[in-house]
Protein backbone atom coordinates (compact mmCIF):
# COMPACT_ATOMS: atom_id res chain seq x y z
CA UNK A 1 0.00 0.00 0.00
CA UNK A 2 1.36 3.37 -1.01
CA UNK A 3 0.56 6.04 1.50
CA UNK A 4 -0.13 9.55 0.28
CA UNK A 5 -0.64 11.23 3.64
CA UNK A 6 2.30 12.32 5.80
CA UNK A 7 2.00 12.76 9.54
CA UNK A 8 4.53 14.16 11.95
CA UNK A 9 5.03 12.02 15.01
CA UNK A 10 7.75 11.03 17.46
CA UNK A 11 11.45 11.30 16.68
CA UNK A 12 13.55 8.11 16.70
CA UNK A 13 14.77 9.07 20.18
CA UNK A 14 11.20 9.40 21.48
CA UNK A 15 10.18 6.06 19.94
CA UNK A 16 13.05 4.60 21.99
CA UNK A 17 11.79 6.43 25.11
CA UNK A 18 8.30 4.94 24.63
CA UNK A 19 9.82 1.45 24.26
CA UNK A 20 11.84 2.00 27.46
CA UNK A 21 8.55 2.60 29.27
CA UNK A 22 7.40 -0.82 28.16
CA UNK A 23 10.38 -2.64 29.69
CA UNK A 24 9.98 -3.94 33.22
CA UNK A 25 12.48 -3.69 36.01
CA UNK A 26 14.27 -6.92 36.92
CA UNK A 27 14.42 -8.14 33.31
CA UNK A 28 17.03 -9.21 30.76
CA UNK A 29 16.67 -7.43 27.41
CA UNK A 30 18.39 -7.52 24.02
CA UNK A 31 18.34 -4.42 21.80
CA UNK A 32 18.67 -4.84 18.03
CA UNK A 33 20.45 -2.50 15.61
CA UNK A 34 18.91 0.89 14.67
CA UNK A 35 16.20 2.59 16.74
CA UNK A 36 16.27 -0.25 19.34
CA UNK A 37 19.88 0.60 20.22
CA UNK A 38 18.69 4.10 21.27
CA UNK A 39 16.58 2.54 24.04
CA UNK A 40 19.78 2.14 26.08
CA UNK A 41 19.91 5.96 26.46
CA UNK A 42 16.63 5.88 28.40
CA UNK A 43 17.19 3.06 30.88
CA UNK A 44 20.38 4.14 32.63
CA UNK A 45 19.97 3.58 36.35
CA UNK A 46 17.05 1.18 35.93
CA UNK A 47 17.17 -2.44 37.02
CA UNK A 48 17.39 -3.78 33.45
CA UNK A 49 20.25 -5.97 32.24
CA UNK A 50 21.10 -5.58 28.55
CA UNK A 51 22.59 -8.45 26.61
CA UNK A 52 25.01 -7.90 23.74
CA UNK A 53 24.69 -11.06 21.67
CA UNK A 54 28.39 -11.32 20.92
CA UNK A 55 28.76 -12.40 24.55
CA UNK A 56 28.07 -9.91 27.33
CA UNK A 57 25.44 -9.32 29.99
CA UNK A 58 24.92 -5.95 31.65
CA UNK A 59 26.31 -3.91 28.82
CA UNK A 60 26.98 -0.34 29.99
CA UNK A 61 26.59 3.01 28.24
CA UNK A 62 28.58 3.89 25.12
CA UNK A 63 32.23 4.58 25.93
CA UNK A 64 33.48 8.14 25.88
CA UNK A 65 36.55 8.88 23.76
CA UNK A 66 39.00 8.15 26.60
CA UNK A 67 37.12 5.03 27.76
CA UNK A 68 37.30 3.19 24.41
CA UNK A 69 38.56 -0.41 24.78
CA UNK A 70 38.67 -2.05 21.37
CA UNK A 71 37.83 -5.48 22.77
CA UNK A 72 34.64 -4.20 24.41
CA UNK A 73 31.87 -3.51 21.91
CA UNK A 74 28.12 -4.02 21.59
CA UNK A 75 26.42 -5.94 18.78
CA UNK A 76 26.34 -2.76 16.67
CA UNK A 77 30.16 -2.56 16.90
CA UNK A 78 30.09 0.51 19.15
CA UNK A 79 32.59 0.76 22.02
CA UNK A 80 30.72 0.33 25.31
CA UNK A 81 31.52 0.22 29.02
CA UNK A 82 31.11 -2.28 31.83
CA UNK A 83 28.69 -1.97 34.72
CA UNK A 84 28.94 -3.62 38.14
CA UNK A 85 27.90 -7.22 37.51
CA UNK A 86 28.82 -7.32 33.83
CA UNK A 87 29.90 -10.75 32.61
CA UNK A 88 31.29 -12.26 29.43
CA UNK A 89 30.78 -15.53 27.58
CA UNK A 90 31.06 -17.00 24.10
CA UNK A 91 28.70 -16.17 21.29
CA UNK A 92 27.50 -19.77 21.33
CA UNK A 93 26.46 -19.48 24.97
CA UNK A 94 24.83 -16.15 24.16
CA UNK A 95 22.55 -17.81 21.64
CA UNK A 96 21.88 -20.71 23.97
CA UNK A 97 20.52 -18.06 26.37
CA UNK A 98 18.43 -16.52 23.61
CA UNK A 99 16.92 -19.75 22.26
CA UNK A 100 16.72 -21.16 25.76
CA UNK A 101 14.07 -18.59 26.64
CA UNK A 102 16.07 -16.53 29.13
CA UNK A 103 15.63 -13.16 27.42
CA UNK A 104 12.58 -11.43 28.86
CA UNK A 105 12.33 -9.10 25.89
CA UNK A 106 13.95 -8.29 22.57
CA UNK A 107 13.50 -4.92 20.88
CA UNK A 108 13.96 -5.28 17.13
CA UNK A 109 13.67 -3.05 14.08
CA UNK A 110 11.47 -4.18 11.20
CA UNK A 111 10.80 -3.60 7.52
CA UNK A 112 7.29 -5.06 7.76
CA UNK A 113 5.03 -6.46 10.48
CA UNK A 114 1.84 -8.35 9.57
CA UNK A 115 -1.47 -8.36 11.37
CA UNK A 116 -0.62 -11.86 12.67
CA UNK A 117 2.61 -10.61 14.17
CA UNK A 118 4.87 -11.97 11.42
CA UNK A 119 8.14 -10.06 11.35
CA UNK A 120 10.20 -9.23 8.25
CA UNK A 121 13.33 -7.35 9.10
CA UNK A 122 16.51 -8.82 7.66
CA UNK A 123 16.24 -8.49 3.91
CA UNK A 124 14.97 -5.65 1.75
CA UNK A 125 14.28 -7.01 -1.76
CA UNK A 126 15.03 -3.56 -3.19
CA UNK A 127 18.71 -4.33 -2.59
CA UNK A 128 18.46 -6.85 -5.41
CA UNK A 129 20.11 -9.85 -3.74
CA UNK A 130 18.81 -13.40 -3.89
CA UNK A 131 16.09 -13.78 -1.24
CA UNK A 132 18.05 -16.28 0.85
CA UNK A 133 21.08 -13.98 1.17
CA UNK A 134 21.36 -11.02 3.50
CA UNK A 135 22.18 -9.96 7.04
CA UNK A 136 20.18 -12.36 9.20
CA UNK A 137 22.50 -11.76 12.15
CA UNK A 138 20.87 -12.56 15.49
CA UNK A 139 17.39 -11.43 14.48
CA UNK A 140 15.81 -14.83 13.80
CA UNK A 141 17.07 -16.36 17.06
CA UNK A 142 15.94 -13.33 19.07
CA UNK A 143 12.52 -13.24 17.41
CA UNK A 144 11.97 -16.93 18.17
CA UNK A 145 13.63 -17.06 21.58
CA UNK A 146 12.69 -13.87 23.45
CA UNK A 147 9.61 -14.10 25.65
CA UNK A 148 8.37 -10.73 24.41
CA UNK A 149 9.20 -9.15 21.04
CA UNK A 150 8.79 -5.40 20.72
CA UNK A 151 9.23 -3.82 17.29
CA UNK A 152 10.51 -0.24 17.19
CA UNK A 153 10.32 1.39 13.77
CA UNK A 154 9.01 4.27 11.67
CA UNK A 155 5.34 3.73 10.74
CA UNK A 156 5.88 4.04 6.95
CA UNK A 157 8.96 3.78 4.73
CA UNK A 158 10.84 6.86 3.49
CA UNK A 159 9.18 6.43 0.12
CA UNK A 160 5.71 6.15 1.58
CA UNK A 161 5.05 2.41 1.75
CA UNK A 162 2.99 1.03 4.62
CA UNK A 163 5.06 -1.22 6.92
CA UNK A 164 2.21 -2.61 8.99
CA UNK A 165 0.60 -4.91 6.45
CA UNK A 166 -1.88 -7.76 6.01
CA UNK A 167 0.84 -10.17 4.85
CA UNK A 168 4.57 -9.52 4.76
CA UNK A 169 5.89 -9.50 1.20
CA UNK A 170 9.55 -9.39 2.32
CA UNK A 171 11.45 -12.48 3.54
CA UNK A 172 10.34 -13.32 7.08
CA UNK A 173 12.45 -13.18 10.21
CA UNK A 174 9.89 -15.31 12.07
CA UNK A 175 6.17 -16.11 12.06
CA UNK A 176 3.70 -14.78 14.63
CA UNK A 177 6.25 -13.51 17.13
CA UNK A 178 5.63 -9.76 17.53
CA UNK A 179 3.83 -8.69 20.71
CA UNK A 180 3.98 -4.90 20.47
CA UNK A 181 4.72 -2.35 17.72
CA UNK A 182 5.96 1.11 18.69
CA UNK A 183 6.26 3.62 15.84
CA UNK A 184 6.51 7.39 15.43
CA UNK A 185 2.72 7.47 15.08
CA UNK A 186 1.27 4.76 17.30
CA UNK A 187 1.55 1.97 19.83
CA UNK A 188 -0.12 -1.19 18.55
CA UNK A 189 -0.53 -4.51 20.35
CA UNK A 190 -0.68 -7.76 18.42
CA UNK A 191 -3.62 -9.74 19.84
CA UNK A 192 -5.27 -13.01 18.78
CA UNK A 193 -8.12 -10.89 17.34
CA UNK A 194 -5.81 -8.62 15.35
CA UNK A 195 -3.90 -5.37 15.78
CA UNK A 196 -5.13 -3.30 18.72
CA UNK A 197 -4.41 0.44 18.40
CA UNK A 198 -3.68 1.55 21.96
CA UNK A 199 -1.96 4.92 21.59
CA UNK A 200 -1.60 7.57 18.90
CA UNK A 201 0.88 10.44 18.57
CA UNK A 202 -0.22 13.88 19.77
CA UNK A 203 -2.58 15.57 17.32
CA UNK A 204 -3.45 12.37 15.41
CA UNK A 205 -6.68 10.40 15.34
CA UNK A 206 -7.20 6.64 14.99
CA UNK A 207 -8.40 7.33 11.43
CA UNK A 208 -5.13 9.13 10.64
CA UNK A 209 -3.11 6.12 11.79
CA UNK A 210 -5.39 3.70 9.90
CA UNK A 211 -4.90 5.74 6.72
CA UNK A 212 -1.16 4.93 6.74
CA UNK A 213 -1.61 1.31 7.89
CA UNK A 214 -2.48 -1.48 5.44
CA UNK A 215 -3.66 -3.96 8.08
CA UNK A 216 -7.01 -3.30 9.75
CA UNK A 217 -6.63 -1.78 13.21
CA UNK A 218 -8.98 -2.46 16.11
CA UNK A 219 -9.27 0.80 18.04
CA UNK A 220 -8.95 0.31 21.78
CA UNK A 221 -11.81 1.72 23.84
CA UNK A 222 -9.05 3.14 26.05
CA UNK A 223 -7.21 4.85 23.17
CA UNK A 224 -4.83 7.53 24.48
CA UNK A 225 -2.08 9.80 23.30
CA UNK A 226 1.35 8.06 23.29
CA UNK A 227 2.49 7.87 26.92
CA UNK A 228 6.03 9.20 27.29
Amino acid sequence: MNVTKKFKGLSRELIALRVAGELEDGTYVNLGIGIPTLVSDWIEGRDIVLQAELGMLNTGPLASQDEVEQDLINASCQPVTELPGSCYFSENESFAMIRGGYMDAAVLGALQVSEKGDLAGWQNPSRGLSEDIGNIGGSMDLAVGARKVIVAMMHVTNDGQAKIVKECSYPLTAQAVVDLIVTDLAVIEVTPKGLLLREVAAGLTAEDVQSVTEAKLIVSPDLTEIQL
Partner: protein
Amino acid sequence: MDKVYPGVDEAVADVPDGASIAISGFFTAGTPVPLIQALVKQGAKDLTIICMQMGPGNEDINQLVVNKQVKKAICNYPFYRSATRGADSPAEQAVRAGELEMEVYPMGTFTEKLRAAGAGLAAFYTPTGVGTVVERGKEKRKFGDNEYLLELALKPDYAFVYAYQGDRMGNLTCHLTARNYNPEMAAAGKITIAAVENVVEPGKLDGDTIHVPGIYVQRVVKVDRPSYFPTID
Protein backbone atom coordinates in the same frame (compact mmCIF):
# COMPACT_ATOMS: atom_id res chain seq x y z
CA MET B 1 54.35 -29.72 24.15
CA ASP B 2 55.25 -26.54 22.24
CA LYS B 3 52.84 -25.38 19.51
CA VAL B 4 54.42 -22.02 18.84
CA TYR B 5 55.20 -21.23 15.19
CA PRO B 6 57.80 -18.61 14.30
CA GLY B 7 55.34 -16.37 12.44
CA VAL B 8 51.99 -16.12 10.68
CA ASP B 9 53.47 -17.04 7.28
CA GLU B 10 54.78 -20.37 8.62
CA ALA B 11 51.51 -20.99 10.46
CA VAL B 12 49.37 -20.79 7.29
CA ALA B 13 51.94 -22.20 4.83
CA ASP B 14 50.26 -25.59 4.37
CA VAL B 15 46.69 -24.35 3.70
CA PRO B 16 45.87 -26.10 0.41
CA ASP B 17 43.65 -24.95 -2.43
CA GLY B 18 40.04 -25.90 -1.71
CA ALA B 19 40.38 -25.75 2.08
CA SER B 20 37.54 -24.60 4.33
CA ILE B 21 38.58 -22.06 6.97
CA ALA B 22 36.56 -20.70 9.89
CA ILE B 23 37.71 -17.18 10.75
CA SER B 24 36.64 -15.76 14.10
CA GLY B 25 35.61 -12.25 15.04
CA PHE B 26 32.43 -10.28 15.67
CA PHE B 27 32.89 -7.30 13.40
CA THR B 28 36.17 -5.82 14.69
CA ALA B 29 36.42 -7.75 17.97
CA GLY B 30 38.51 -10.91 18.16
CA THR B 31 39.36 -11.10 14.45
CA PRO B 32 42.73 -12.74 13.61
CA VAL B 33 43.67 -10.09 11.04
CA PRO B 34 47.38 -11.07 10.76
CA LEU B 35 46.37 -14.63 9.79
CA ILE B 36 44.01 -13.31 7.11
CA GLN B 37 46.80 -11.11 5.75
CA ALA B 38 49.17 -14.08 5.72
CA LEU B 39 46.60 -16.15 3.83
CA VAL B 40 46.33 -13.40 1.22
CA LYS B 41 50.10 -13.55 0.80
CA GLN B 42 50.11 -17.36 0.75
CA GLY B 43 47.60 -17.37 -2.09
CA ALA B 44 45.61 -20.63 -1.59
CA LYS B 45 42.58 -20.67 -3.90
CA ASP B 46 39.03 -22.08 -4.09
CA LEU B 47 38.64 -21.53 -0.36
CA THR B 48 35.43 -21.83 1.64
CA ILE B 49 35.45 -19.07 4.27
CA ILE B 50 33.25 -19.49 7.35
CA CYS B 51 33.04 -16.07 8.95
CA MET B 52 30.39 -13.80 10.44
CA GLN B 53 30.93 -11.06 7.90
CA MET B 54 32.58 -10.41 4.54
CA GLY B 55 33.57 -6.79 5.08
CA PRO B 56 31.84 -4.93 7.89
CA GLY B 57 34.41 -4.43 10.64
CA ASN B 58 36.70 -6.82 8.76
CA GLU B 59 37.85 -5.13 5.55
CA ASP B 60 40.95 -7.35 5.39
CA ILE B 61 38.86 -10.35 4.44
CA ASN B 62 37.89 -8.57 1.22
CA GLN B 63 41.49 -8.85 0.03
CA LEU B 64 40.91 -12.63 -0.22
CA VAL B 65 37.93 -11.87 -2.48
CA VAL B 66 39.82 -9.31 -4.58
CA ASN B 67 42.59 -11.92 -5.00
CA LYS B 68 39.94 -14.40 -6.19
CA GLN B 69 40.90 -16.89 -3.46
CA VAL B 70 37.37 -17.48 -2.17
CA LYS B 71 34.94 -19.86 -3.85
CA LYS B 72 32.29 -19.84 -1.17
CA ALA B 73 31.45 -17.87 1.97
CA ILE B 74 29.31 -19.15 4.86
CA CYS B 75 28.18 -16.20 6.99
CA ASN B 76 25.47 -14.82 9.24
CA TYR B 77 25.86 -11.04 8.68
CA PRO B 78 27.83 -10.84 5.42
CA PHE B 79 27.17 -7.36 4.11
CA TYR B 80 27.35 -3.71 5.06
CA ARG B 81 24.10 -2.45 6.50
CA SER B 82 24.15 0.45 4.07
CA ALA B 83 23.20 -0.68 0.54
CA THR B 84 25.37 2.12 -0.89
CA ARG B 85 28.43 0.98 1.04
CA GLY B 86 27.63 -2.63 0.15
CA ALA B 87 27.57 -1.78 -3.55
CA ASP B 88 31.25 -0.79 -3.25
CA SER B 89 32.24 -3.91 -1.29
CA PRO B 90 34.23 -6.57 -3.19
CA ALA B 91 32.36 -9.46 -1.49
CA GLU B 92 28.91 -8.11 -2.31
CA GLN B 93 29.99 -7.32 -5.86
CA ALA B 94 31.36 -10.86 -6.27
CA VAL B 95 28.10 -12.37 -4.98
CA ARG B 96 26.08 -10.22 -7.38
CA ALA B 97 28.35 -11.20 -10.27
CA GLY B 98 27.92 -14.90 -9.45
CA GLU B 99 31.64 -15.23 -8.71
CA LEU B 100 31.20 -15.99 -5.01
CA GLU B 101 28.80 -18.62 -3.66
CA MET B 102 27.22 -17.72 -0.35
CA GLU B 103 25.23 -19.46 2.38
CA VAL B 104 23.72 -17.41 5.19
CA TYR B 105 22.56 -18.83 8.52
CA PRO B 106 20.99 -17.24 11.59
CA MET B 107 23.76 -16.27 14.01
CA GLY B 108 22.80 -18.84 16.66
CA THR B 109 22.56 -21.60 14.05
CA PHE B 110 25.90 -20.57 12.53
CA THR B 111 27.75 -20.88 15.84
CA GLU B 112 25.90 -24.05 16.87
CA LYS B 113 26.90 -25.75 13.58
CA LEU B 114 30.51 -25.16 14.60
CA ARG B 115 29.93 -26.18 18.21
CA ALA B 116 28.27 -29.42 17.08
CA ALA B 117 31.22 -30.22 14.81
CA GLY B 118 33.69 -29.66 17.62
CA ALA B 119 31.61 -31.80 19.96
CA GLY B 120 31.34 -34.77 17.60
CA LEU B 121 27.66 -34.29 16.75
CA ALA B 122 26.32 -34.71 13.22
CA ALA B 123 23.41 -32.30 13.46
CA PHE B 124 20.89 -30.63 15.77
CA TYR B 125 17.31 -29.38 15.74
CA THR B 126 16.67 -25.67 16.23
CA PRO B 127 13.43 -23.65 16.32
CA THR B 128 15.16 -20.75 14.56
CA GLY B 129 14.30 -20.23 10.90
CA VAL B 130 11.03 -22.20 10.82
CA GLY B 131 8.64 -20.55 8.38
CA THR B 132 11.42 -18.56 6.68
CA VAL B 133 13.68 -19.08 3.65
CA VAL B 134 16.17 -20.70 6.04
CA GLU B 135 14.01 -23.86 6.19
CA ARG B 136 14.37 -24.57 2.45
CA GLY B 137 15.65 -28.05 1.77
CA LYS B 138 15.87 -28.96 5.45
CA GLU B 139 14.04 -31.58 7.47
CA LYS B 140 11.35 -30.02 9.65
CA ARG B 141 10.24 -32.03 12.66
CA LYS B 142 7.72 -31.48 15.42
CA PHE B 143 8.71 -32.07 19.04
CA GLY B 144 5.84 -31.37 21.42
CA ASP B 145 3.93 -28.37 20.09
CA ASN B 146 6.79 -26.75 18.22
CA GLU B 147 8.55 -27.24 14.90
CA TYR B 148 12.31 -27.42 14.51
CA LEU B 149 14.77 -27.50 11.61
CA LEU B 150 17.53 -30.06 11.26
CA GLU B 151 20.82 -28.21 10.81
CA LEU B 152 24.05 -30.05 10.04
CA ALA B 153 27.36 -29.69 11.85
CA LEU B 154 30.04 -27.70 10.00
CA LYS B 155 33.61 -28.93 10.39
CA PRO B 156 36.22 -26.66 8.83
CA ASP B 157 39.67 -27.89 7.75
CA TYR B 158 41.23 -24.90 9.53
CA ALA B 159 40.10 -22.41 12.17
CA PHE B 160 41.81 -19.03 12.56
CA VAL B 161 41.16 -17.72 16.06
CA TYR B 162 42.37 -14.84 18.19
CA ALA B 163 43.27 -14.56 21.85
CA TYR B 164 44.60 -11.97 24.24
CA GLN B 165 46.81 -14.48 26.01
CA GLY B 166 47.95 -17.99 25.35
CA ASP B 167 50.62 -20.41 26.46
CA ARG B 168 52.90 -22.59 24.35
CA MET B 169 50.53 -25.54 24.88
CA GLY B 170 47.69 -23.66 23.17
CA ASN B 171 45.61 -22.80 26.22
CA LEU B 172 43.93 -19.48 25.41
CA THR B 173 42.34 -16.66 27.35
CA CYS B 174 40.23 -14.21 25.41
CA HIS B 175 39.46 -10.64 26.38
CA LEU B 176 35.99 -9.20 27.04
CA THR B 177 33.72 -9.33 23.97
CA ALA B 178 36.62 -10.44 21.76
CA ARG B 179 35.84 -14.00 22.90
CA ASN B 180 32.71 -14.33 20.69
CA TYR B 181 33.19 -17.15 18.13
CA ASN B 182 36.70 -18.12 19.22
CA PRO B 183 36.02 -21.08 21.57
CA GLU B 184 33.62 -22.91 19.23
CA MET B 185 35.67 -22.25 16.10
CA ALA B 186 38.82 -23.43 17.87
CA ALA B 187 37.12 -26.70 18.79
CA ALA B 188 35.62 -27.14 15.31
CA GLY B 189 38.79 -26.71 13.24
CA LYS B 190 40.73 -29.84 12.27
CA ILE B 191 43.80 -27.58 12.43
CA THR B 192 43.29 -24.53 14.63
CA ILE B 193 45.74 -21.66 14.38
CA ALA B 194 45.61 -19.14 17.21
CA ALA B 195 46.91 -15.59 16.76
CA VAL B 196 47.87 -14.59 20.29
CA GLU B 197 48.90 -11.19 21.62
CA ASN B 198 50.80 -12.42 24.66
CA VAL B 199 52.44 -15.85 24.43
CA VAL B 200 53.67 -17.15 27.79
CA GLU B 201 55.25 -20.28 29.23
CA PRO B 202 52.97 -23.06 30.53
CA GLY B 203 52.08 -22.32 34.14
CA LYS B 204 51.92 -18.56 33.68
CA LEU B 205 48.18 -18.52 32.95
CA ASP B 206 45.58 -19.20 35.62
CA GLY B 207 44.27 -22.61 34.57
CA ASP B 208 40.89 -21.71 36.02
CA THR B 209 40.39 -18.84 33.53
CA ILE B 210 41.14 -20.61 30.25
CA HIS B 211 38.44 -20.07 27.59
CA VAL B 212 39.95 -22.42 25.00
CA PRO B 213 41.66 -25.58 26.32
CA GLY B 214 44.89 -26.26 24.46
CA ILE B 215 43.68 -29.62 23.13
CA TYR B 216 41.74 -27.71 20.47
CA VAL B 217 44.69 -25.61 19.30
CA GLN B 218 47.39 -27.04 17.02
CA ARG B 219 49.41 -23.87 16.28
CA VAL B 220 50.12 -20.72 18.26
CA VAL B 221 51.61 -17.61 16.73
CA LYS B 222 52.50 -14.36 18.46
CA VAL B 223 50.97 -11.23 16.91
CA ASP B 224 51.09 -7.57 17.88
CA ARG B 225 48.04 -6.05 19.49
CA PRO B 226 46.29 -4.09 16.77
CA SER B 227 45.10 -0.58 17.51
CA TYR B 228 41.86 0.61 15.94
CA PHE B 229 38.58 2.31 16.72
CA PRO B 230 35.72 -0.22 16.57
CA THR B 231 33.09 0.78 14.01
CA ILE B 232 31.12 -0.59 11.08
CA ASP B 233 30.07 2.84 9.79
